[in-house]
Amino acid sequence: MSEAKTASVAQYAKMHRVSEQTIRNAVAQGLIIMPTSGRIDIDQADASWAIQRRSRMTTQQTDQGRRSAEAKIVVGIAKLRLAKDKLEGVRERYINRAEFAAQANAEVQQFIVWLREIPDRCAAEFAAVLEISPTVAHQLLARFIDLCIVELGDLAEEAVRTAETA
């Protein structure tokens, strides 16, 4: 059985032209497993740590480095998708308050206009039902609509206020 190649932290750091602290950090992160002997198993350390070291900083020529760089890019794309999804979620749930107030105001104003059109549209039929002249029917409906609008109060102001406090 062949014996595993080992190296001290200092030797391994020198092999990869990094500081000893870098190797100790990789050991602390669990990427490099340090047995009780205190010597690093070179094969394990190369497979786990060395192949992905600095892969995002340089264009990768080797197969292992290329795979490592690709993995980092895939992770980046996944993070980006997640962030975009989160952003879309917020965008779908909220609307601009000022635009909402303006929209509510526009709707109320239009509704009042539609109410005021009722006498013009319904006077003839109304007159026929009540057997009164169309002019009287128009006046009656106009008066009725006026009373309704007064009762409803300032809808536009209310719409803007509720939009501001919602």
Partner: protein, 110 residues
């Protein structure tokens, strides 16, 4: 699976885009905190509540006003109530079918 170019530029581009998206998200969060944005379901709730109040008030208006108007014109009150009821129902039905006035985009979170 799409082809990935494992160059440093690719990762940098992705990270840049990620930062842009995160900045946009933070901007929205800030707007929410400053009450510049309102939740759609809340906006709909207040709009529907107001619409219902207006509808109910209009539907009950003939019963409240017909007697006075009938007395002024010498008309039978019951007939006037029915006629006004018909006018209000028909008008509300017609208004509900009309397109809403456009304050163009209703989603101003961009």
């Amino acid at each position: 699976m799409m082809a990935i170019d494992p160059s440093p530029e690719t990762l940098m581009k992705i990270n840049t885009e990620l930062n842009v998206v995160r900045a946009q998200h933070n901007d929205l969060t800030l707007k929410i905190r400053h009450r510049e944005l309102v939740e759609i379901h809340k906006a709909e709730a207040v709009t529907f509540a107001r619409a219902r109040r207006v509808r109910d008030q209009l539907l009950s208006a003939p019963a409240r006003h017909a007697a006075i108007l009938a007395a002024e014109l010498g008309l039978p009150a019951v007939t006037l109530v029915h006629a006004l009821d018909h006018v209000i129902h028909a008008s509300l039905r017609e208004i509900s079918r009309r397109p809403r006035p456009t304050q163009e985009s209703f989603s101003g979170t961009d």
